[in-house]
Amino acid sequence: MSAYQLTYQAYGAGAVLVGWPAKIAPEILDDIRCFISFLKEASVPGILEWNSSYCSVLIVFNPMKTNYQALITLLKTYRSVSQDSSEIVPPPCWEIPVCYEPPYAIDLPDVAKEIGMDIQSLISLHTGTEYRVYGIGFLPGFLYLGGLPTSLHLPRKTMPIAVPKGAVAIGGQQTGVYPKDAPGGWHVIGQTPLTLFNSKESPPCQVAVGDAVRFREIDSQQYKTLHKQVEQGAYPLKKYGQ
């Protein structure tokens, strides 16, 4: 029996919005992971796809094959018998190498000044934390990472600027990695040589909602070496500590 009382809302004629309590918490994320693994395994007829973010899951269905009532009845039945989320296999933890040196860390000196911390302590704090993926959105493969230490919380920029692919940034209470060049309002503190989203690969994005992520500091020489390996397809995303 799951602990959270869920809400179900019709979202247009072909989708259901499932809601958890409106807060950002790892326990809710674990429960959402559990819920999604049920959707994956049950392969319910009529369900086309879904996505999730923090405390909600949106399920898109084919109204010719199922309907809102049938779907929520099924989901409620699953909730009444599902196991506790602590019994689910723990998520993988991915390691993302990051270079915090110029020219890859355009906003790092300003950010350090703004929060009143020296650059090395800031890097240690950023790399010393395990983050969780609370959502993937904004761009294909953009990871919303929660768990940023409070002392690194910083309001977003008022105007978005051009941000390069691989930029590792902080914004509000979150940190994230830009999967491609894009306009962005977060503060860029480093860059990873990894490609986190590639439409030509299957799956295009290895990281899933609920997974854990840790950053590892590399210098600009290592960045260049890894970047070359990534371009040759010789450096896959690795699990932390491997």
């Binding site: 247009g12 086309l48 993937i136 295009p204 994005c205």
Partner: protein, 284 residues
């Protein structure tokens, strides 16, 4: 094969879109106006998912490098094959060497060009729909050559119907869109809800395949919410009181209150509106 002599304002290849990747942040894409796109494929006895060309506001100049049976649906854009004027919603057979060009926009915003069997743009993640970052480019470029799926893109002479499906004028001119309530609609007061459902808006210049922004602000609000999933057809209300209708290439999550959800048929009507056109919302 067809060669792009001039790409026009914004011309892309679209099938019904990329399903099954929303959980990694990939938008659906697909035709902005599915009603007209499906009609184009139906008129050629194509599969509904066959890829067609979506032409926006200012049409391209296209060179047929082989004979084909084709049809145009959606916006009326004064299309011609060589010097011959073409009607929408009516199949034509064109010869190798023919030039398809477009002129003044008379009605609507987006026109669909289908050929028998569909266009054979490269499939990425299960779809031929162009979207920058997933496919090489989000739109067609000058000199590009697009193949046809079928080695013979002709419907036998004599089998091409001579009739024409008449364009649905209310589809282009209906300014009140039927909509469902969005998840956050009920967070607003009765007075605010009545403003949202009775006010007339106009389409702004900031309107593209990602979203349509409307010009008129309604009321400022401070209803913040935690980022949550959105869909094409979701209408968001920004803190400054502006409405944004999310379209086919929109991102998959958003942080503004979702006040309405448009059914596919209403979304198709939005896709035919151009900057300055009036538009309002009526609850289903």
């Amino acid at each position: 094969m067809i060669q792009v002599l001039h790409p026009g304002l914004y011309t892309s290849i679209q099938d019904l879109g990329r399903l099954g990747y929303r959980h990694i942040g990939v938008p659906t894409s697909g035709p902005m106006d599915t009603v007209s796109a499906e009609l184009a494929n139906a008129l050629l006895n194509n599969d509904p998912n066959d890829a067609l060309m979506e032409i926006t506001m200012l049409g391209p100049r296209l060179h047929f490098l082989e004979a084909a049976t084709m049809v145009l649906t959606g916006a009326e854009m004064s299309a011609r094959i060589n010097d011959k004027v073409l009607l929408t919603n009516k199949p034509y057979t064109v010869a190798s060497g023919d030039i398809l060009s477009f002129g003044r926009l008379r009605q609507g915003m987006r026109c669909y060009l289908a050929v028998k069997g569909g266009f054979s743009a490269h499939k990425v993640m299960g779809s031929r729909s162009m979207y920058a970052g997933i496919t090489e480019s989000g739109r067609l470029k000058a000199h590009e050559v697009i193949s046809f799926v079928s080695s013979n893109a002709l419907i036998e002479p004599g089998s091409v119907g001579k009739g024409r499906v008449s364009p649905h004028h209310t589809f282009f001119h209906n300014a009140t869109l039927p909509v469902y309530k969005g998840p956050e609609f009920d967070l607003f007061s009765a007075r605010q809800q009545s403003i949202l459902t009775s006010r007339q808006f106009t389409v702004s210049n900031h309107s593209d395949r990602m979203g349509y922004q409307l010009n008129e602000a309604v009321f400022k609000h401070r209803k913040s919410m935690i980022t949550s999933p959105v869909l094409p057809g979701t209408v968001q209300l920004t803190p400054a009181g502006k409405l944004v209708i999310l379209m086919k290439d929109a991102q998959t999550t958003g942080g503004y209150p979702r006040i309405f959800q448009l059914p596919e048929s209403s979304l198709a009507m939005v896709a035919q509106k151009k900057p300055g056109d009036p538009l309002g919302f009526g609850l289903l």
